[in-house]
Amino acid sequence: MTETDLVAISPLIFVIALAMLIIVADIIWPDRDDISTGLTVAGLLVGAGLTVLVAQSEAREIFAGAYVVDPLTSFLDVLFLAIALVTVLVAPDYLRPRGLPMAEFTATLLFAISGAMLISGSRDLLVLFLGLELLVLPGYMLAGYAKRDGYSTEGAIKYFLLGSFSSAIFLFGLALTWGFTGTTRIREVAASLAQLDTASALAPALLMGLALLTTGVAFKIAAVPFHYWTPDAYQGSPTPVTGYLSVGPKVAAFALILRLFVEALAPIKADWTPVVIVLAAITMTLGNLVALTQDNVKRMLAYSSIAHTGYIMVGLAAYAGAPVGSEAERAGLEGLLFYSVAYAFMNLGAFAIVSALQHRRGVTSQIETFAGLGRRAPWAAILMTLFLLSLTGIPPTAGFFAKAYVVLAAVQAGGWVSVLAVIAVLNAAAAAFYYLRVVVFMFMRDPPETARPVLTGTMMRAGLAITAVMTIFIGLVPPVTSGVIEFARVAAEVLLVRTAGG
C-alpha cells in the first residue's frame, strides 16, 4: 500500500468515511434528518468531484493488482454516486412521514454504494465477491427499512434468503474457477484461460464453475428465470429504496459481469454466449408479458425492470456473439454502458414520482392512485409521462437511444444475436401498452374523491429535476449525448484492449 494507492482509491475511502461520519453525527445530534441529508448530499457531490479528479490521471493498478482505477471504474463510480444522490434527494419525502430516520438510511445506502464502487474497479475475484456482499447486504436492510410495515419486511426476507442462496452459489463458482486457474487476480485468470486448448472440450469443473457463476450473476441482475425475488422485493420496499434497488444493484451487477465475464472469462466467451442469448430473449419477453397484467405501479415497474435487464443483456450478447476483435464487440459494450446510464435516470425518475405521490402515509402504489393526476398535479403527471415514454423507448428521449444502441450493436454482431434485435424491437412495441396505461390513468381518468393534493419538498424537486433533465438531455442535447457516449466508448475500450492483450 502506497500513497498513490490511497490517492487513487480516495473516492471509495471518502464514501465509506462519509457513511461513518453520518453515524457519528447522528449520535451527536440524534434525529436530525436535515443534518444527515445535508451531509450526504454535500459529500456525494464532493465524492463525484474527487472521482472526476482521480480519473484525470493515468489508469493504474493498485493494491498489488487487486484494484484498478481506469475509465471504466470512473464511469461506473460517477454513475453510482449519481444514483445515490438522487435516492437521497428523493427519500426524505417518503421516510419522514413514516417516522423513519434518515441517518441509518443514508449510511446504509453509502455502504452499498461503496460496495458497488469496489466492484467497478475490482481486478481480483475475492475483492469482487466482497464488493458484491458489501453491495447486497445493505440492500437487504434497505428493503426492510420500513420495519414496521409487513410488506417491507416480507420483501426483505425474500430478498435476503434468495440473495444469500445465490451468493453461496456464486461463491462456489468462484471457488471452482479459482481452484482451476490457481489465482484470484483477474488478469492472471484470463491469461490462464487463454492458454487452454481452444479445440478440445473444457474441463467439466470449469464449465460447472461457469454455470454456478452464471446463475449467481443472473440472479443479481434479475434475469429470467432467476428473477423471482424482484417483484416482491421491489413492491415491498419503501418506494425510494425500490428506485435504488432497481438501478443500483442492477448496474453494479452488470459491472460485475464486465469485470468477471468480459474481462476474466473472455477467452472462453464462446462457451457462455448461447446462454446469454437465451437468457436475454426470455428475460425481455417474460418481463414484458407479466408487466402487462399488473395493477400495482411499483410491481409493474419491477417487471418492466426485468425487461430492461433483458435489453441490457442484448448489449452483452452483442459483445459475446461478435467475432473477437470486431467493431461489434465494442458497440455491444458501449450499448450496455449507455443503456445503464439512461436506464438509471429514467427508472429513478419514475420511482421518484411514485414516492412523491406516496408522500402521505396510506397512499398505495395501485394504478388508481394515478387517476386524474394530470388534473391534480400536472407537473408530476408530465414528468411521469416523460419517464414512461423514455422507458417505452419513444424518441427523442434517452431511452430511445439506449434501445437503438443495443439493438444496432446486436444487428452488427450478426448470427443469433440479430434475432435478439428483432425480439427486442417486438418487445419494445408491446411494452408501450403497459407504460401507456399509466398515462391513460393520469390523463383520462377522474381523480378519486378521496384524493388530496400532492406535496413535494425541495429535495424531491431537485431529484426529479436531475432525472428529468438527464432523461431529456441524453436524448436531445448533442454535447450531453456525445459526452456520455464518448465516456462509454473509452470505458468499453479499456476492457477490450486488456482482453485482447491477454
Binding site: K158, P225, A432, V440, T481
Partner: protein, 671 residues
C-alpha cells in the same frame, strides 16, 4: 450551443436566396406550435374560458410563415434539391450520426399547404366547437402539440427525425381520440388506435434499422443515392420497402390495419377533420412518396402497395354505403380515398397521388367540419336516420358540404375531379387496367354514398327529435368561416394546380422530387390527348360519378341548388328497386346495363358483399387485433402464476435454473 445551430448542410449548397432568414422561418414553423403547446399546457387552466388565446394565434402566425415558406419553395427559391439544412447534430456517436435536419422541397411544400391551412382553420373552428367544453385547454394544448409533430414529420430530412415525429403524431392522435375519456368507447378506441399503430411502427422501425445497417446513413438523399449502389439483393430492397410500407399501412389505416380509423371517430370532430382526414393519415402516403426511389426498385413492393390500396378503396367504399353514423360514413370514405392514393403510388402515378392527397385534405376536412356543424346543430346526434330536412335551417353548412360532396364525387370541375381522374387515367395508361376498373367502381360507390349522406341529412322530411327541432340554428361564425374558407379550395384547387393535365403546377412542383423514381420505373407517358384515350377515361369516370350521384338522389332526395327544384326521397324504393329500374332504363342499352349492374351491385351482390365485408371487418380483422392483445395478456396472466409469493418455490426455480444452465454448458453446448 450556437456552434451547431443553423448550419447549412455542407454537401449541398442552397441557392443564395435561401439565406439564414429562411432557415430561421422553417425552424419557427415547428418551434411556434411547440411553444404554443408549452404555454397552453402551463397557463391553460388559468385561461379558463379563453383557453384558445394562445393556441389559435400561434397557429395563424405559423400558417402565415408556412405560406411564405411554401411560396419560396414552390417559386424555386430553394432550387431543385430544396432547402436542406441541419439544425444540429442530434446523435453524434461515431458511425451512428444523425442530424436533426430539415428539408423543404416541392413535396414538403405540397404537404405544408394542406397541413398548415387545414390546421389553422381547424384551430379556429374549434373555438366555436369546443366552446361548451370544460377543460378545453387540454384540447388546445394537444392540438398545438399535434401541429408541432405533424410539421416536424413533413419537414424531417432523415428517417430518424421522421420516426420521432411519427411516434409523436401517434401519441397526439391517441390523446385526442380519448379526449372524452369518460366515454368508455372513446378510451377503447384510443387504445385500439395506439396498438394497431404500434404494429405498423414495428415494421417501420425494423425498416429503418435495415436501411441503416445496409447503407450506414439515414438521411433521405444519402440513402436514395447509396441504395442502388449498395449492390443489394432484390429481395432485400423489397424487404426494406415492405417494412416501410408496414408503417404506412398502420398510420394511413390501410387493410388490414384499417380497423382503428372508424373507431377513432370517437374523438371530437375537429380532431377527426384534422388528424383523421387531412393530415396524420396522409403521413403513410407521404412516407411512400418520399421513399419512392426505394419502392421504384422493387416491382413486387409496388404491386403490393397498389393491391392493398385499391382493395382498401373498394372495401371501405362498400362499407360506407350502408353506414348510418354520419362520421363513420366519412371515416370509411377517408379509408377509401387513401386507398386511391396508395393505388396511385403503387402504379407509379406519384403526382396524382400527392395531388389527390392535397385536394382530399381540403374537401374531406371540409366534410368533417361540416358534419361537426351538423352534429352541433342537432345536439350531438350522429345518426343520419334521425336527421333530414336540415338544409333550410343550416344553409351555410349545407352549401359548403354540398360543395365538398361534389368535389369528392369527382364532378367536373371541382377539385376531386382532377385528382381522381388523374389517378384513374394514369393507372389505365400505365397498364394497370384492373386498378382502373376497380377504381371506377369505387368512384360510383363514392358518389352514391356521399349523396346518400347528403340526402339523409339535408333533404326530405325531418326525422329530428321534435324537442331539438325548434332549437336548430346555424353554427357561430368561428365555425362557418372555416367551412367557407375550405369550400374555396375544394372548388378551385384542382383547376388551379392540376390544369392542364400533366403540365399543371403540381407537376412542376413535384417534378424534381419524383424524377429519380420515374426514371427507375422507366415510365414513358404519351402526351395528354383529350380527344383520345384520355378523353375516354375522363368521360368514363365522370359518367360513373354522375350515375352514382343520380342514383343517390333518386333514393334519398336532393334539392337542385340554383333551380330550387326538389327531388323527394323514396324510402321504399330500395325494396321495389328491380321493377322500377327495369321500367326506367329499358330504352337504351347503356341504361339497361347500368340498371342491371346497379341492381346487381347495390341490391344483391353489393348488399351481400357489403354485409360480408362488414362482418369480415368486425369479426375477423377486428377480432384478430383484439385476439392478439387478449392472447398476449392471457399469456402474461398465465406466466404470472409462477410468482407464487413463496420463497421455496422461487428457490426451487433458481435451483432448477442452475441445473438447466449447468446441463446446457456441460452437455448441450460443449465445444
Amino acid at each position: 450551443m450556437s456552434g451547431f445551430l443553423l448550419t447549412a448542410a455542407e454537401t449541398e449548397t442552397p441557392v443564395a436566396a435561401a439565406g439564414a432568414t429562411d432557415m430561421l422561418l422553417v425552424t419557427l414553423l415547428v418551434a411556434l406550435p411547440l411553444a404554443g403547446f408549452a404555454l397552453t399546457a402551463l397557463l391553460g387552466r388559468r385561461l379558463y374560458t379563453k383557453a384558445w388565446v394562445i393556441a389559435v394565434p400561434v397557429m395563424i402566425v405559423t400558417w402565415l410563415i408556412g405560406l411564405y415558406v411554401i411560396a419560396q419553395a414552390l417559386g424555386g427559391a430553394y432550387g431543385e434539391e430544396g432547402l436542406h439544412f441541419t439544425l444540429y447534430r442530434w446523435i453524434p456517436a461515431g458511425d451512428f450520426t444523425v442530424d436533426a435536419g430539415f428539408l423543404v422541397d416541392g413535396l414538403t411544400a405540397a404537404l405544408l399547404i394542406v397541413v398548415t391551412t387545414v390546421g389553422m382553420l381547424v384551430h379556429v373552428y374549434s373555438i366555436g366547437y369546443m366552446a361548451h367544453e370544460p377543460g378545453r385547454w387540454r384540447f388546445f394544448a394537444y392540438l398545438n402539440l399535434f401541429m408541432f409533430s405533424m410539421l416536424l414529420l413533413v419537414l424531417a430530412d432523415n428517417f430518424l427525425v421522421l420516426f420521432a415525429a411519427w411516434e409523436l403524431v401517434g401519441l397526439c392522435s391517441y390523446l385526442l381520440i380519448g379526449y372524452w375519456y369518460k366515454r368508455r368507447s372513446a378510451a377503447l378506441a384510443a387504445k385500439k388506435a395506439f396498438i394497431v399503430n404500434r404494429v405498423g411502427d414495428v415494421g417501420f422501425g425494423l425498416g429503418i434499422m435495415a436501411i441503416w445497417t445496409t447503407v450506414g446513413t439515414l438521411n433521405f438523399h444519402e440513402v436514395f443515392e447509396a441504395l442502388p449502389e449498395a449492390g443489394l439483393e432484390p429481395w432485400m430492397i423489397t424487404g426494406i420497402a415492405l417494412l416501410l410500407f408496414a408503417g404506412a399501412v398502420g398510420k394511413s389505416a390501410q387493410f388490414p390495419l384499417h380497423v382503428w380509423l372508424p373507431d377513432a371517430m370517437e374523438g371530437p370532430t375537429p380532431v377527426s377533420a384534422l388528424i383523421h382526414a387531412a393530415t396524420m393519415v396522409n403521413a403513410g402516403v407521404y412516407l411512400v412518396a418520399r421513399t419512392s426511389p426505394i419502392f421504384a426498385q422493387s416491382p413486387f413492393a409496388m404491386l403490393v402497395v397498389a393491391s392493398i390500396g385499391i382493395f382498401t378503396a373498394i372495401l371501405a367504399a362498400s362499407i360506407a354505403m350502408t353506414q348510418t353514423d354520419i362520421k363513420r360514413v366519412l371515416a370509411y370514405s377517408t379509408l377509401s380515398q387513401l386507398g386511391y392514393m396508395f393505388a396511385a403510388l403503387g402504379v407509379g402515378a406519384y403526382f396524382a397521388a400527392i395531388f389527390h392527397l392535397m385536394t382530399h385534405g381540403f374537401f374531406k376536412g371540409l366534410l368533417f367540419l361540416g358534419s361537426g356543424s351538423v352534429i352541433h346543430a342537432v345536439h350531438e346526434e350522429q345518426d343520419m336516420n334521425r336527421m333530414g330536412g336540415l338544409w333550410r335551417k343550416i344553409p351555410i353548412t349545407h352549401i359548403t358540404m354540398l360543395i365538398g360532396s361534389i368535389a369528392i364525387s369527382g364532378i367536373p370541375f371541382f377539385a376531386g375531379f382532377f385528382s381522381k381522374d388523374e389517378i384513374l387515367g394514369e393507372s389505365f395508361k400505365l397498364g394497370f387496367g384492373w386498378v382502373w376498373f376497380i377504381g371506377v367502381v369505387v368512384a360510383v360507390m363514392t358518389a352514391f354514398y356521399m349523396f346518400r349522406l347528403m340526402g339523409k341529412t339535408f333533404y326530405g322530411p325531418s326525422h329530428v327529435d321534435p324537442h331539438v327541432a325548434d332549437k336548430i340554428h346555424e353554427s357561430p361564425p368561428t365555425m362557418t368561416i372555416p367551412l367557407i374558407l375550405l369550400a374555396i379550395p375544394s372548388m378551385f384547387l384542382g383547376v388551379a394546380i392540376g390544369w392542364p393535365p400533366e403540365g399543371g403546377l403540381i407537376h412542376q412542383w413535384l417534378g424534381p422530387v419524383f424524377h429519380e423514381a420515374e426514371e427507375l420505373l422507366g415510365h414513358e407517358l404519351e402526351p395528354y390527348a383529350i380527344f383520345g384515350i384520355d378523353g375516354f377515361l375522363l368521360g368514363a369516370s365522370v359518367a360513373v360519378a354522375i350515375v352514382g350521384m343520380v342514383m343517390a338522389w333518386r333514393y334519398f332526395g336532393f334539392r337542385v341548388p340554383l333551380l330550387g327544384a326538389e327531388v323527394q326521397p323514396r324510402a321504399r324504393r330500395v325494396e321495389v328497386l328491380t321493377e322500377r329500374f327495369r321500367g326506367w332504363y329499358d330504352a337504351s342499352f347503356h341504361k339497361w346495363w347500368f340498371d342491371d349492374l346497379n341492381h346487381l351491385l347495390f341490391v344483391r351482390i353489393g348488399g351481400a358483399v357489403a354485409a360480408a365485408l362488414w362482418w369480415f371487418d368486425v369479426n375477423i380483422v377486428d377480432g384478430a387485433v383484439n385476439g392478439v392483445a387478449r392472447l398476449t395478456q392471457g399469456t402474461g396472466r398465465e406466466i404470472r402464476q409462477i410468482q407464487t409469493g413463496r420463497v421455496q418455490n422461487y428457490a426451487l426455480g433458481i435451483a432448477i435454473g442452475l441445473l438447466v444452465v449447468a446441463v446446457s454448458y456441460l452437455v448441450v453446448t460443449p465445444r
